[in-house]
């Protein structure tokens, strides 16, 4: 099976030089469903940031989708990100855009025609059960609804990899379940690799998953 992510002696640190992840080595195969857990401040989100290129490795090597991120150029990083879908705990939706335009964003970046993108958005909105809210702005929706919009945006361009940072952290049970179903669906049906940072792994998952736990800067493969 192809490896989507390969980390070798990976160390991560912010500008204050305090090491967050220390010489970690791991790999993730294409089509894996992966959970990353750990206590608050353990470095889960930092690791995820490094995986989508927002934080460059301090030491070691990190290869995502066949691209080494340590010395990646801006244009290569843009190219890589066009094949990744990201979901954040705080949704990161553009407030001055309608939810339709928010979901359309990765499609337009990837060069889809507007009419094709609109059809895709309609399908996705039905999928996340928000088709009646199409013209609304993010701040007119509840937290759960906003996260479903963010989920639809992450799925819109059929990415090879979806990364989610505590996607159900602030959500009610109904929205949480819908998010997990969508992530499982993408993994099951489209064979999309899914990496989820979370405090709690849901119990009723139907997919086989990998589990990494971060403690004191070290990454342990638990499952």
């Amino acid at each position: 099976m192809d490896k989507v992510i390969i980390a070798q002696d990976l160390s991560l640190a912010y500008s204050n030089n305090e090491t967050i992840i220390n010489k970690a080595s791991f790999s993730i195969n294409s089509g894996n469903f992966v959970f990353i857990t750990g206590a608050s401040g353990s470095g889960k989100s930092t690791l995820l940031k490094s995986l989508y290129g927002a934080l460059k490795p301090k030491q070691g090597s990190l290869v995502v989708g066949g691209v080494e991120l340590k010395a990646i150029s801006r244009s290569k990083l843009n190219f890589l990100r066009r094949h990744i879908g990201i979901v954040f705990q705080d949704y990161k939706l553009v407030k001055e855009w309608t939810i339709e335009k928010n979901i359309m964003l990765p499609l337009l970046i990837n060069g889809y025609l507007k009419s094709v993108a609109q059809d895709q958005v309609e399908k996705l909105l039905k999928h996340v059960r928000l088709n009646h809210q199409i013209g609304k702005y993010p701040l007119e929706l509840s937290g759960g609804e906003q996260q479903r919009v963010a989920m639809a945006r992450a799925l819109a361009h059929n990415p090879i990899l979806i990364m989610a940072d505590e996607p159900t952290g602030n959500l009610d049970e109904y929205s949480s379940q819908l998010i997990w179903n969508l992530l499982e669906g993408a993994n099951n049906q489209l064979k999309t690799t899914v990496i989820v940072v979370t405090h709690n792994i849901p119990k009723n998952l139907s997919v086989d998953y990998k589990h990494f736990h971060i403690e004191y800067g070290n990454i342990h493969e638990i499952r």
């Binding site: 990161k92 553009v94 855009w97 990765p106």
Partner: protein, 270 residues
């Protein structure tokens, strides 16, 4: 409403810059037109022992556009009542020649000084009257007027630029979030900044067209025209082609610089 507010802050700031700029140009044109009018009325008197042509005077100093000899008849007429006719003829022959020199433009005090010294350096010219005191007073008044308007325009420009920089911070905050989110999905720099540049250019166009409307109206407003008529000059308050192109150019340039500063100041979220 939100969209109008988004545009209004930059449009007003741009309008203020365009107004102070056009005001400066109107004053500059008025002063130039007034100088031309003054130069038509201003002349220097030169007294020469021999006959000199306009070309000869122009050779002495290029500023002389025309030299006209003043006929001595009126002076001689006053004296002739007590003189014999033969003596009058003799006086006519011995009197020096008086020339009224017209100048190509309204000169500065330095140019007047130079003209006077150049003329006096000529062997035939014995005396020059430059009416320097009257000239200097008018010239200094014009200069003062121009300096006051320049100072006023500069202060307006400075205050507006400071306001724009304050606005820039708000824009930076507002656009940073969207640009970061677009960056997370791999949008190239041009795509991330396209909204910003479009907004800046739309604002520049809006400000230019509003300025165009106002200045076109002012240029035919009777009160404005009367002000120029009163001092006997004809000034183009607003040229709908040249001035509009300049206003548009300045507004677009300022907006693009502003948008570029925001794009350059944008920091990726880490």
């Amino acid at each position: 409403m939100k969209s109008v507010r988004n545009h209004l802050s930059l449009v007003l700031a741009l309008l203020s810059i365009l107004f102070s700029m056009q005001l400066y140009f109107i004053v500059e044109r008025s002063i130039d037109a007034y100088k031309v009018k003054l130069s038509q009325n201003y002349s220097v008197i030169a007294v020469s022992k021999e006959e000199l042509s306009s070309e000869a005077f122009a050779k002495i100093n290029k500023i002389v556009s025309q030299a006209k000899e003043i006929a001595p008849d009126s002076v001689i007429k006053r004296l002739s009542s007590d003189m014999k006719s033969t003596n009058v003829e003799l006086l006519k022959l011995t009197l020096p020649r008086f020339y009224k020199l017209s100048l190509s433009h309204y000169p500065s005090p330095e140019e007047i000084k130079k003209l006077k010294s150049d003329l006096l350096a000529h062997n035939a010219i014995t005396k020059v009257e430059d009416f320097a005191h009257t000239h200097d007073t008018v010239y200094k008044l014009l200069l003062l007027f121009k300096n006051v308007v320049t100072l006023f325009s500069s202060v307006v420009l400075l205050v507006t630029v400071l306001l724009i920089f304050k606005e820039l911070r708000i824009w930076q905050y507002k656009h940073n979030e969207r640009m970061s989110i677009m960056g997370l999905f791999g949008a190239a720099l041009w795509l991330r900044s396209a909204v910003l540049f479009r907004l800046a250019i739309v604002d520049a166009l809006l400000a230019s067209f509003v300025a165009f409307g106002i200045f076109t109206y002012l240029s035919s407003y009777p009160w404005v025209l009367d002000q120029f008529k009163n001092i006997g000059i004809d000034v183009v308050v607003f040229n709908p082609i040249d001035d509009f192109l300049m206003i548009l150019g300045v507004a677009v340039a300022i907006s693009i610089v502003l948008a570029s500063l925001i794009v350059l100041g944008h920091k990726e979220e880490a």
